[in-house]
Structure formats: structure tokens, C-alpha cells
């Protein structure tokens, strides 16, 4: 099947369509008054102003002035609400939710080790998806072999620490080779299914009872990180008031952000090189590149390996920062969250994964902390029949899912990306 039932007609300007930004402002306004507690309201206000200006400039082309008006009113209301919140939250104890604490938690996570793991994983995905157009849905598998490569070689094979690190970085190369040979010649969706299946196979195998002696079963492996901890030069944690890191986390973020910086430098260099240009052309038109005499398969394989090594690095770092490797950490969700981070920042941009991971964790941790506080205590802000504290921890994932959908529909290039550079039109 070569043709698809997509109607690729250019968006004809029809008077029957409301202005898109009017709808956006309405949605942001509604979200501001309900889900996001005012955070989206200023944006709703701004969008509504833009929409109104556009509609007034060409009233015969657009409808939806009413929608934009409603969006503006909701946006203003929400913004007022947001200001009241913030003032009350920061200045007084009148609210059961400590806004300062929410921001602190969010910032801590956005700058902390978790964001680093996602940034590294997303850098790998950026090479796969952003630059080469390979739809790797098995980044969790690359992370898992990195993490288990380290843990198994130190705990079970009793290699020295740096030997474990080398194995952790070689394991993703092996996985990329094994996975790449059958799948790189296939269409994007086949690659997606094959990689997600491979990642699940690895997770199930690492967690299985039968292989408990080698991989520690569902409890995983511990006791390999002592050399890493021993290298910690810090005597104390860091407390700047708005962020606070323990001694261990401080060491981890030092190592982690250095790794991220070096990785970004490498990606920046590679993507400016002729090699990087070939990758981008493969994303745009594989056949054209092939007709120029390039070995497309080899380039794709190199990209898969390189991105996979970054995935392995993410797994390695995750294993080091929490000093234990548990198969449940490498479920497919982590791949999808890393994709979300990448798409927030903008695929095919060097700094996209970094920005995306930081923003993703800021939002996730902020939402988690806000709803956690709003549902805890003897007299919670949120009535328990609407939301209890276990449900509160799910809101952020519901928002993530919705966010991923909206992002992909309305702004696939993310915050910093270029729409023409995203490999989303092919199959």
C-alpha cells in the first residue's frame, strides 16, 4: 500500500472556520481555571489578544470573535487568580498549598539527576528521530543494557569500575547492531514496533525469576556504585534557598551536566559535519541519498549506534545516581517520556533535548508536588471524592499524555524547533 487516505489539501481560507488562536486561547483559558491552576491563563490572554487582532484585521476571513472574547475573559480571570494564588502562597499561610515549596520541588527536579537522565536519553532520541528520522521506541532497552552492563560486570563478573563503564557503553552498540540489521531496512512503523518489542524483551528477561542469578530478578542489582561514590569530592550538600541538593546529588549533577554538555558539544559538531548532513538528507529523502551513491543502511546503522550509546549513557547515569538497577525503571514509559521531553524542546535542535528535559521535569514535579499538597493533610484543598492522594500522583501523567497529543498536533516542532525539520510526514 503506497498511498494513504490523507487529504493533503492546503488549508483553504474559509470564512466558516474560527480563527485557530481563538480556540487555543479558549482552551488555555479553560485549562487555566481548572487543571493548571492559572499557569496557562496569561498565555490564554495573550493568544486571545492576537486572535482578536487577527480577526479584526480581516473580519471576512475568520470567525470565532466570540470564542476569543471568552478566551480573553477566562484568561484575565485566571491570571488574576494566579496572582492571588502566588501572593497568598508566598506571603501568607492562608493556603494549604505552599507555592514556594512547589516551585522549589519543581526547580530541584528540573536541575536534578532525573532531568539529566531524560536529557541524555532524549539526546540519543534526537539523533535517531530528530536528525535521521528513525523511530526508535526502544530507548528504554538501550538504557537498560547500559545500566545492566555496568551492574552485571561489576557485581557478577567482578570487573573494576572503569571496566564496567566500558562494558556499559559497548552493550548499547551490540544491541543497536542486533536490532538494526533486521529493522533498519523497514518502514518507520515497523522499526517502532520492533524496537519497542526488543526493549520489552530485555526488561522481562532482566526481571525474570529464571535469570535471577545473573540479573537479580525484580529486585535488581545493587552494590556497584561504591567507587563512584568514593570519587565524590564534595564534603557537604548545597542549599541555595531556591534549590537544595544533598551531597550525593550534588556529585551526580556535577557529573551528569558535564556529560550532557560534552554530549551536546559532540552532537553539535557531528551535525555540522558532512556526516550529519547525510543523516538529515536521509530523514528528508532516503531514495535521493541512495541515488547519490551513499550507503543509507550504513549511515542509519551508525546513527542508531550513536543514539543508542547516548541511551546507554542515560541508563549508566541512572544506575550510578540511584545506586541500584531495577527492571521496572526501564519500562516503555520512560521511552515515551523521553520522547515527550524531546518534542517539548524541539527535535533536530542541538539544545532541544536539554531544554525539553528541564521543562518536562519542572512541569512534572511541579504538578506532582502541587496536587500532592492539595490532597494531603486533614483538610485538603481538593475534596477527596474528586481526588485522593494516590490519584493526585496520576494527574501529571494524564497531563503528560494530553500534552504529548496537543504538542504533536499543534506544535510538532516544540519550543525551539523548525517545523520543516521534523520527520513526521513520512511513514
Amino acid at each position: 500500500m503506497t498511498t494513504t487516505p490523507q487529504q493533503r489539501t492546503a488549508p483553504v481560507v474559509r470564512a466558516a472556520r474560527p480563527h485557530p488562536q481563538a480556540i487555543t486561547s479558549l482552551v488555555l483559558g479553560v485549562a487555566g481555571l481548572t487543571l493548571t491552576a492559572g499557569i496557562t491563563s496569561p498565555f490564554a490572554w495573550r493568544k486571545a489578544q492576537q486572535a482578536l487582532a487577527a480577526i479584526d484585521a480581516a473580519p471576512q476571513e475568520h470567525r470565532g470573535r466570540g470564542l476569543a472574547q471568552i478566551g480573553r475573559v477566562l484568561g484575565i480571570l485566571g491570571t488574576v487568580l494566579l496572582v492571588v494564588w502566588l501572593v497568598l502562597g508566598f506571603a501568607t499561610d492562608a493556603l494549604p498549598v505552599d507555592i514556594g515549596d512547589v516551585f522549589k520541588t519543581a526547580l530541584n527536579q528540573a536541575l536534578g539527576p532525573n532531568a539529566i537522565v531524560y536529557a541524555l536519553a532524549a539526546i540519543g532520541l534526537n539523533i535517531h528521530f530528530g536528525y535521521t528520522g528513525l523511530l526508535n521506541f526502544g530507548q528504554a532497552g538501550f538504557m537498560a543494557v547500559g545500566a545492566y552492563g555496568l551492574a552485571v560486570s561489576i557485581v557478577i563478573l567482578e570487573l573494576p569500575f572503569w571496566g564496567g563503564v566500558i562494558i556499559a557503553l559497548l552493550a548499547p552498540v551490540a544491541l543497536a547492531l542486533v536490532l538494526g540489521f533486521p529493522t533498519l531496512r523497514l518502514r518507520a512503523d515497523y522499526l517502532a514496533i520492533a524496537t519497542i518489542a526488543a526493549a520489552e524483551i530485555l526488561r522481562l528477561a532482566f526481571g525474570s525469576v529464571e535469570l535471577k542469578d545473573a540479573f537479580g530478578g525484580s529486585n535488581g542489582l545493587t552494590g556497584y556504585a561504591s567507587s563512584y561514590q568514593a570519587m565524590n569530592p564534595y564534603a557537604d550538600g548545597l542549599n541555595l534557598g531556591f534549590v537544595e541538593f544533598s551531597r550525593r546529588d550534588l556529585w551526580s549533577i556535577t557529573v551528569g551536566w558535564t556529560l550532557v554538555a560534552l554530549s551536546l558539544l559532540l552532537v553539535w559538531g557531528l551535525m555540522r559535519s558532512p556526516w550529519g548532513r547525510v543523516l538529515r538528507s536521509i530523514r528528508e529523502d532516503e531514495d535521493a541519498v541512495r541515488s547519490l551513491g551513499k550507503n543509507v543502511f550504513a549511515y542509519k546503522m551508525q546513527a542508531l549506534i550513536l543514539g543508542g550509546v547516548f541511551g546507554g549513557l542515560a541508563g549508566l547515569f541512572l544506575a550510578l545516581k540511584q545506586a541500584s538497577v531495577v527492571p521496572a525503571d526501564y519500562s516503555t514509559n520512560i521511552t515515551f517520556f523521553a520522547y515527550t521531553a524531546l518534542l517539548i524542546g524541539g527535535a533536530a535542535r542541538v539544545l532541544g533535548p536539554l531544554a525539553g528535559a528541564v521543562i518536562f521535569w519542572f512541569l512534572i514535579a511541579g504538578l506532582g508536588s502541587f496536587f500532592g499538597q492539595a490532597t494531603s493533610g486533614p483538610d485538603p484543598l481538593m475534596p477527596t471524592f474528586i481526588m485522593d492522594d494516590t490519584q493526585a500522583s496520576l494527574v501529571r501523567f494524564i497531563v503528560t499524555g494530553l500534552g504529548l497529543m496537543l504538542l504533536m498536533i499543534f506544535r510538532p516542532q516544540g519550543i525551539f524547533g523548525d517545523r520543516r525539520e521534523i520527520a513526521i510526514d513520512g511513514r
Binding site: I193, L211, G426
Partner: protein, 440 residues
């Protein structure tokens, strides 16, 4: 677009609302153990009380089995037979660690301990009163020992599982065939059927069969709403297939967490047909519900196939799947056909969820766990072909269930199917019944 999305979301919330009610009054999930009629007298001092349950039989208490309590020093304190509640109560002279062992010869006729469980447990007596322990044993029937019989049992459950997968795979394959969408939210459509059965059954008190029918109808409606509210507008905007795939991932995440939000993360049982004893049909022994599942799935698949092969609508679906542009230019309403495909596809998928709920339990992750197996089945048979989906599902179902007999570790029996998925991509990427042109 956004309005439609929000409407979709609101509708979903409303649909799931009754669950909250069901959730509230539904704390007795596992069948409550029957209270023993005559509670044994409790001794005054410290005592050890152990309850013997059969974990392979829904934690049913095992009565009349002799348990012996031995102190840390190896001194035998007492032996006692378990009462109707599977409990023994043995006074102990001092606090400490006691070992409770089981006399296998006193097990009820026809069962023996399965190989993987220990025949003794340790009880730490630290309280000057009851020091309780649960003694879970696994049992298996003594009679089924020959390989042939085990093979037939595994084959039967493989066929049953394969048919359930086939319903979902048929749905996925239909939707993929006509729209080209690799729908990662398909697992959540399976869960939708199961959860709606649970809502109608536990939340509204309907009998399971009525609840199941309702859930299938609602699944069909959900499919239509999804198509109208999400996927058709995306097609109209000219959104690429990869973008749609990522949208479906977001949708899956959203749905999965909404499910968990509403019904919680524990496993839920329906009110009827939870445990049934098996009947013998020649060499095969099946519970009534298993037989019904097989028959319902088989009949539905046959009807769906006849519908696709014989009726006008079926022909239209196959035509659109073959060449949408040509179908449109020969006067077919492609959008209408796609809408009916979504309705049919999600109804079939919902039915597989209903059957899965009746077969075992309801959980927010159940569909997601099945998703990759459904993908494996569809890929094995050939993405987008009807017969391929059916064939692939049967192979996958049987392989998953029979695999452990041939040395596949049973804790990871799904892995075999996923390995096959990757091997098929290596050797014959278009699938066994697929056409070569389908791959790019």
C-alpha cells in the same frame, strides 16, 4: 480540533464516572474466606497460628492437613490438623522462631504440592499472644502427569488466548488497513471493554452478560467518537502518519492514567463466573466460561469475516484498505467507510477486553500488556490483512501457552512471541500472508 479533543475527554470522564461509585463500595475484591463456624479457643499465653491456603486455587483454605510446629532448637512442640478455615493454633512455651512443616501424605486426595513451593514456613513469635503466619502452598492435580495431557491443556488455553488476541488483532488490522495508523492506543481500547464491563457489572449491578453486551456497544461508540473527534480532523489537517502514531502514544498514556485514576491499580473481579470447576470433554477439560469464550470469539470472528467478504460494506472496507484514492474516485464515501471500520474495529477490540475480563480479572494495565502481543500477531500474519491477523493471533496465542512445556521460562512466556516478532521482521517482513509491496 481542540474543542473536539476536549469534548472527547469530557465524554470519557463522564463515561468513567460510575466507576468511582463502584470503586467506593468495592473493597472486598478477593472472595472473602468463609468465617470458620467454630473459632478454636485461643490460648492465654503466646501461641502460633498458621493458616494453610492454596494459592493455586484462589487462596482457598486447605482443611485436614497435619502441620507440625518445631522450635528453633529442633524440638517438636505439637502437631495439629487444620480446621475448616485451614487454621491451626498451637501454644508455644517461649518466644522465638518456629518452623511449621506440612505432612504431604495428609493432603486431600487428588492433589499434591507443586514443585516450586516449600513444604515448611518460618513463624517469628515475638508477641505474647497470637503469632500469625500464612502458609501458602501451591497444588496441582496428581492425575495429569503425561506430557500429552499437559500439551492438550496448554493447547486449549492457547487457542482460547489466541482467539481473544485475534479479536483485538482484527480490530487493529482493520484500522491500520484503512487509515494506515499504527495505533499505540489499541491496548487501551481492549482495557476500555473490560473496564466498561466492570462498570456495568459492579457499578450498576447488571449481570455480566448484559454488562458485556453494553461494553461492546459502548466500545463501538467510543470508536466512532474517537474517529470523529480526533483521527478524522487529524487526517483533514494532513497530519503525517508518524505524527499520528505519536499522538496515539499520548492518547494511550492519557487513557491508561485516566483508567487508573478511576478504578485504581488493583485487580478487580466481576461478580459472576469468577471461579468455575472444569468439565471434561473427551481429552479436554474446560470450565463453562472458557468454552463460552471460545465459542463467542469464534462466532464473532466468523461473522466479522463473512461481513468483510460478502457484504457491500465489507467490500468497500477492503477497497479503501487497498487503494483509498481509487475508492474515493470511484464514488465511495471513504470517510464513511473509515468510520464504520473504526466502529467495527473498536467493537471487536472491546469484545476481546470483555472476554479477557470474564476469563481473568480487570486491571488498568491489561490491554497495554497485551498490545505488543497483538502487534506481534498482526506483524506475523501481515500488517493490514484479515486472514493474516487471525493466523498470527492463533500462532502467538498457542506459542505463548505451549512454550513453557518446551522449556520457555513460564515467568516470561510472552518473550517468545516478541522474539518471533523480531525474527519475522528479519526473514519475512511483510508477514506470512502479507504482500511484498506493503513494506517500504
Amino acid at each position: 480540533m481542540l474543542q473536539r479533543l476536549l469534548t472527547l475527554l469530557a465524554l470519557l470522564m463522564v463515561l468513567l464516572m460510575p466507576v468511582a461509585a463502584a470503586h467506593a463500595g468495592d473493597e472486598t475484591e478477593s472472595p472473602a474466606p468463609s468465617p470458620s463456624s467454630e473459632p478454636a479457643p485461643r490460648p492465654d499465653g503466646p501461641y502460633v497460628t498458621v493458616r494453610l491456603v492454596d494459592k493455586d486455587n484462589g487462596d482457598a483454605p486447605v482443611a485436614g492437613v497435619t502441620l507440625t510446629v518445631v522450635s528453633e532448637a529442633g524440638e517438636e512442640i505439637a502437631s495439629a490438623a487444620t480446621d475448616a478455615d485451614g487454621r491451626i493454633i498451637v501454644p508455644i512455651p517461649a518466644l522465638g522462631i518456629y518452623t511449621v512443616s506440612l505432612d504431604e501424605t495428609t493432603l486431600p486426595d487428588g492433589i499434591k504440592l507443586s514443585a516450586s513451593v516449600a513444604s515448611e514456613i518460618e513463624v517469628r513469635a515475638i508477641l505474647d499472644g497470637a503469632n500469625g503466619g500464612l502458609f501458602p502452598i501451591g497444588t496441582q492435580e496428581v492425575t495429569t502427569v503425561t506430557f500429552g495431557e499437559r500439551f492438550i491443556t496448554a493447547l486449549t488455553s492457547g487457542v482460547k488466548f489466541g482467539l481473544i488476541v485475534a479479536l483485538a488483532a482484527l480490530g487493529l488490522s482493520l484500522i491500520f488497513g484503512t487509515t494506515g495508523l499504527t495505533n499505540f492506543a489499541h491496548g487501551e481500547l481492549i482495557t476500555f471493554g473490560a473496564i466498561m464491563t466492570y462498570v456495568f457489572n459492579r457499578g450498576m449491578g447488571m449481570p455480566v452478560i448484559v454488562a458485556g453486551v453494553g461494553a461492546v456497544l459502548l466500545s463501538a461508540l467510543f470508536g466512532w467518537v474517537q474517529e470523529r473527534g480526533l483521527w478524522r480532523p487529524l487526517r483533514k489537517r494532513g497530519t503525517g502518519l508518524v505524527a499520528m502514531m505519536i499522538v496515539s502514544i499520548g492518547f494511550a498514556l492519557l487513557l491508561r492514567n485516566v483508567y487508573q485514576y478511576t478504578i485504581g491499580s488493583s485487580r478487580k473481579s466481576l461478580s459472576q463466573y469468577v471461579s468455575q470447576s472444569r468439565r471434561d470433554y473427551g481429552p479436554i477439560s474446560l470450565a463453562d466460561k472458557e468454552l463460552s469464550i471460545i465459542v463467542i470469539a469464534l462466532v464473532t470472528i466468523i461473522i466479522a469475516c463473512i461481513l468483510l467478504m460478502k457484504t457491500r460494506l465489507g467490500k468497500a472496507m477492503r477497497a479503501v484498505s487497498d487503494n483509498p484514492a481509487l475508492s474515493a474516485s470511484s464514488g465511495m464515501r471513504v470517510d464513511g467507510v473509515i468510520a464504520s471500520v473504526w466502529i467495527l474495529g473498536t467493537a471487536l477490540t472491546g469484545l476481546s477486553g470483555v472476554l479477557l475480563a470474564i476469563n481473568s480479572q480487570v486491571n488498568f494495565l491489561m490491554g497495554f500488556k497485551l498490545l505488543l502481543l497483538v502487534f506481534a500477531a498482526v506483524t506475523l500474519g501481515g500488517l493490514g490483512t484479515i486472514w493474516g491477523a487471525l493466523f498470527g493471533s492463533m500462532v502467538i496465542g498457542i506459542m505463548v501457552e505451549v512454550g513453557p512445556l518446551f522449556g520457555v521460562p513460564s515467568s516470561i512466556k510472552e518473550v517468545g512471541a516478541l522474539v518471533v516478532l523480531i525474527l519475522v521482521l528479519l526473514i519475512r517482513p511483510q508477514g506470512i500472508l502479507g504482500r511484498r509491496e506493503r513494506i517500504g
